[in-house]
Symmetry: C2
Amino acid sequence: MVEISSDVIRGYNDTMILSILLKEPSYGYEISKQIKTITDEKYIIKETTLYSAFTRMEKNGFIESFVAEQDPEGNSKKRTYYRITDKGREYYESKCEEWELTKDVVEKFIQLR
Amino acid sequence: MVEISSDVIRGYNDTMILSILLKEPSYGYEISKQIKTITDEKYIIKETTLYSAFTRMEKNGFIESFVAEQDPEGNSKKRTYYRITDKGREYYESKCEEWELTKDVVEKFIQLR
DNA sequence: TATATTTACTTCAACAGATGAAGTACTCCA
DNA sequence: TGGAGTACTTCATCTGTTGAAGTAAATATA
């Protein structure tokens, strides 16, 4: 079973999270489930990786947080939602461009079978 | 100008070096020039990255070093050459497999234009 | 011949992102 | 009543990358 090493995916955790937030605001647990589903369980983001990415990206102005209740009555558990900012959208797009370049570069050294 | 961030390439510096050593033994300066040429200068490996990769990979048994003279008379500058081991070849192959998986995963989150 | 550039490294300290361990607390279902 | 699931937080540690700086021989240029 081939596994993805963290050193490879390192540069793209933020991009994955942002790509999910492009559609609508979301929160940690939900985003981690989505990443799992989208990748057919090939990649499962670690909790600490995810939450530290939130902190970092909020500091960088790529996302904004807001607290919301799980149900409208307000008698349920609180969640911290995140929404992507314009700066985040720009960053995401630059990462997509970077990916094309990275792929070209890495593939010069990869032998396909 | 799109630039490759070190966090992206992190997992593949070793792979690039090994891919060059697959053909024949080589040394630092030569390998760095080859990476530059092969990638059309899109990626230039930093000296410290390169030499720390050598140390790490030798420790892991992926490469072996030997010192050789630049010309047969032995009156020239010494170089440390590296040669890939069987373990290194295995590692390289596993990295190639991993790459295919990584590419699939990342591309689920990338928007092409 | 003097000097600048290229070749070929080494050492070291600092940094950033990923991660394991551990803990908290609430909800839901059997 | 208790276990699984949800939804996080804190903290210490690790690894690979990097900048800065230094060394020294070989080669090109003036």
